[in-house]
């Protein structure tokens, strides 16, 4: 790898990734632990989310307030959350401050106090979050779409299920911490104005002796797919469509990204042109590609008033199907410029880069340089993309609607 990128895997399985960005003053850190929602024990959904909140409520010899004050004094912009695979903790600030925060993050991960009062509050907030979801028909739709489309347990709502959260105990959460907050498979990525050697030394000092425990393999099932309607007295009907696609690790993955850019990216994309600009059917319409480790797909969304919902759904499906008839060289060229420009502009942001190298390493087992990605995009020719699209006709649609009336579904 070029001198911009560095990586090291410690004996306990923790991998340190670093992207050096000399012209910035800041740095961003992303710590991903193998403790995401898909690994929640059966009947205890939401456990990973409650745990990720709880560990921040006091760690090492600092109680919840002392810990928070300490991180704030460093001026850190903090983030935390739970995805399908990982519990994620991150921060960004002036580079030196991010380095200074490492001992506190080691406390959070390795020595959380996990007080009972903190657990009660964290679970209460999780339950309130689920309640709030019902007031947001668009989010309700996206949660349901992932549930039906992705293979269980990957489609789970990381927020959990109300029934199961109510029964969750501090003991459950503690035993999950013990088993899952460990070094094997963990990724710590830093991007910004940092030197690799001292960074590695610090990480070794605070995380190098973190225990390594056997990880539980997650067994997946076949996705449910199909059609689903949830009745809500909303102002708009919210429509979600999804279908399976190739993996991020497939040699053709740049091809699918470009194809979906033609379909749903940018304002000259087909969705925007046909559905919004020509017909005025909706304000918000998009399509995106998403990839798990062993499953990938295309997800699309539109929100539209109820009497125009059928026309919108029909139009979305027509555009998705038309994609297999190919794209024009002009469309491909715009999609390439769009993807490459995004890449370079994200390249100026330390937090975007830290997230990107961590994701890359998790999916591929290695970091890609910006140049590698650029040439991957450049290598896609009109013939290659059209040949790919012909071969991979979209099928097995999952369609979810949230709104006052059910729509007519395709055969």
């Amino acid at each position: 790898l070029a001198e911009r990128y560095f990586q090291h895997t410690f004996a306990n399985g923790l991998t340190l990734l670093c992207e050096k960005m000399p012209v910035v003053q800041s740095a961003a850190m992303a710590l991903h632990l193998d403790a995401g929602a898909a690994g929640d024990p059966e009947g205890k959904s939401g456990c990973a989310s409650v745990l990720a909140d709880l560990v921040l409520r006091g760690a090492g010899d600092r109680d919840t307030r002392a810990l928070s004050d300490h991180l704030d004094r460093l001026g850190l912009h903090r983030s935390s959350g739970v995805g399908v695979y990982h519990a994620r903790f991150g921060c960004e600030a002036v580079a030196g401050r991010v380095m200074e925060s490492l001992p506190a993050y080691a406390d959070i991960i390795r020595r959380p106090q996990m007080p009972k009062s903190g657990f009660d509050a964290a679970r209460d907030l999780a339950l309130q979050g689920l309640d709030g979801l019902k007031d947001d028909p668009r989010q309700t739709l996206l949660v349901k779409l992932r549930q039906l489309f992705l293979p269980p347990p990957f489609g789970r709502n990381p927020m959990g299920e109300t029934k199961e959260l109510k029964k969750l105990t501090l003991k459950d959460v503690k035993s999950n911490w013990q088993r899952r907050y460990q070094a094997d498979g963990a990724i710590l990525a830093v991007a910004g104005n940092v030197e690799f050697a001292p960074l590695k030394e610090e990480v070794e000092k605070y995380f190098g002796d973190m225990p390594k425990k056997p990880r539980k393999k997650i067994i997946t099932e076949r996705p449910a797919y199909g059609h689903y309607h949830e009745r809500q007295k909303s102002e708009q009907t919210h429509i979600g469509v999804a279908y399976p696609s190739i993996l991020e690790t497939d040699p053709d993955h740049y091809v699918i990204r470009l194809a979906i850019e033609v379909l749903g990216g940018g304002m000259s994309g087909r969705f925007f042109t046909e559905i919004r600009e020509k017909r005025g059917l909706c304000y918000s319409v998009w399509a995106g590609y998403t990839s798990l480790k062993n499953y990938a797909g295309v997800l699309a969304y539109a929100g539209t008033s109820n009497e125009r919902a059928q026309a919108t759904l029909d139009c979305m499906l027509a555009e998705i199907r038309r994609l297999s008839r190919g794209v024009t060289p002009e469309e491909l060229s715009r999609a390439k410029i769009g993807l490459k420009a995004s890449l370079i502009m994200d390249g100026e942001s330390t937090s975007a880069r830290a997230g990107a190298i961590a994701y890359d390493f998790f999916i591929r087992g290695r970091m890609r340089t910006l140049d590698e990605i650029k040439s991957g995009i450049d290598e896609v020719t009109p013939d290659r993309i059209n040949d790919f699209l012909r071969r991979s006709e979209p099928k097995e649609f999952t369609i979810v609607t949230v709104g006052p009336t059910k729509l007519k579904m395709p055969e």
């Binding site: 600030a93 509050a121 907030l125 708009q236 420009a341």
Partner: protein
């Protein structure tokens, strides 16, 4: 060399009054430009409320030279990350591109702002606007914000919704929009801002070439001082699960030097983590969300409180929030002010690393103050904010009286 020292500011005013401002950064990999127009929903006659935002959409529907397909295609051909927004006081159009597209992006933004407003496009886009209004109808966050602004500002134009209502949009004619455009989109009522890797001589030449022929319109804003209603209101919607609360109380304006202290005070009280509201309301789960902040306007300003709770906890949460607002006047500590300042300092550094962040910050300040502030000045001003200046601020703006609105399944009437 320190990055902030390598940044250089430039300003030039065209004969027609258009201000061109830029900050060049030789290390940047991209270029950002924006046209900020000093107009928004507060500048609209009440009958055509929503016209500023609708007009913002029409800009993307093409000029004499270009159709809407061309507009979208050209932006995508140069790989622009672009967007536009409308507030009560500003309408902005901006794009981030690679430096090789500087010429094309400025030409394109300039072209955008001389729209054709064709009948067919107007009618199609009207449907899109109505969809956007319907989408906001499904979002309690927007609903409570609009209702609380209306309640707080009463008949003052700042109380008007940015989107307008389905009724005002349906009734709006093309002619009314064209008249509004002529009055408010003169070059003397906007600024062209640029940041990142750039050559200022080139930017000025491009501005002359593409905006030099625009005619000044002499637009003036009505600066009538608002008389706040300070009344409380309970809105009931049985289909909601959560109770949403929003409150407004006066604060410094966008031109007021106390705005820097107001930002720090906002973070001390209402930042999402580690603030007074966090410890009093969110840490213990009394509220799912409790936010306090500073919202400056042209000539006046507001502090706001925003709460999301279970309906049965709303009264309690509101009481705690108001108690905290009283307490901070008495027992503010140096430590908490220092922490808030450190976080804002990080935000200034992070934003300063992105050309888009610099352009937006520069243009946003220019619209109100016609002055440039460097990263260094921003840092110095921040460091000079003292706990005493925050205390002084709470004496001058004592969070009282306050307008409070609640929305949810229960009629929660604050006392």
């Amino acid at each position: 060399m320190r990055r902030d020292l390598a940044l250089k500011f430039h300003h030039y005013r065209l004969a027609n009054g258009l201000d061109v401002i830029a900050e060049s950064d030789p290390d940047a990999h991209s270029f950002a430009a924006g046209l900020y127009v000093n107009t928004g929903s507060r500048d609209e006659p009440a009958e055509i409320n929503g016209v500023s935002h609708f007009l913002e959409h029409m800009m993307f529907k093409g000029s004499k030279k270009y159709s809407w397909e061309d507009v979208n295609r050209i932006f995508d051909e140069i790989g622009a990350r672009y967007n536009a927004f409308t507030t009560q006081e500003n309408t902005a159009y901006y794009a981030n591109v690679l430096p090789e597209f500087t010429r094309r992006v400025i030409e394109h933004l300039a072209n955008l702002l001389r729209p054709a407003i064709r009948a067919q496009d107007f009618n199609t886009e009207k449907k899109v606007i109505l969809e956007e209004i319907a989408m906001h109808g499904d979002d309690p966050g927007y609903r409570i914000y609009d209702a609380a602004m209306r309640q707080h500002f009463g008949k003052h134009p700042l109380g008007r919704s940015v989107l307008g209502s389905a009724k005002s949009i349906k009734a709006l004619t093309r002619r009314e929009m064209e008249n509004y455009f002529r009055r408010h989109y003169g070059p003397d009522n906007m600024v062209l801002a640029a940041a990142g890797k750039l050559d200022f001589r080139e930017i000025v030449a491009l501005a002359e070439e593409h905006c030099g022929s625009w005619k000044a319109s002499g637009a003036k804003r009505d600066h009538t001082v608002p008389s706040y209603t300070n009344k409380h209101k309970a809105m009931v919607d049985k289909k909601l699960n959560r109770q949403y609360t929003m409150a407004f109380t006066p604060g410094p304006s966008a031109q007021d030097d106390r705005r820097f202290a107001a930002r720090v005070l906002g973070d001390v009280i209402g930042e999402s983590e580690g603030s007074r509201f966090y410890w009093a309301l969110v840490d213990n789960a009394i509220a799912e969300d409790a936010d306090f902040g500073f919202y400056p306007h042209d000539g006046c300003g507001s502090f706001y409180v925003s709460l999301t709770t279970e309906p049965k906890r709303t009264s309690k949460a509101l009481k705690i929030a108001r108690t905290e607002l009283e307490r901070v006047k008495e027992d503010l500590t140096d430590e908490e002010v220092e922490r808030a300042k450190n976080k804002i300092a990080s935000a200034i550094v992070l934003e300063g690393e992105l050309p888009m962040g610099r352009m937006r910050s520069m243009a946003g300040n220019w619209v109100y103050n016609k002055e440039y502030r460097s990263l260094e000045q921003d840092m110095e001003t921040l460091l000079a904010v003292s706990p005493e200046s925050l205390r002084e601020l709470t004496r001058q703006f004592p969070f009282n009286p306050m307008t409070i609105v609640t929305l949810g399944p229960k009629a929660v009437k604050p006392d």
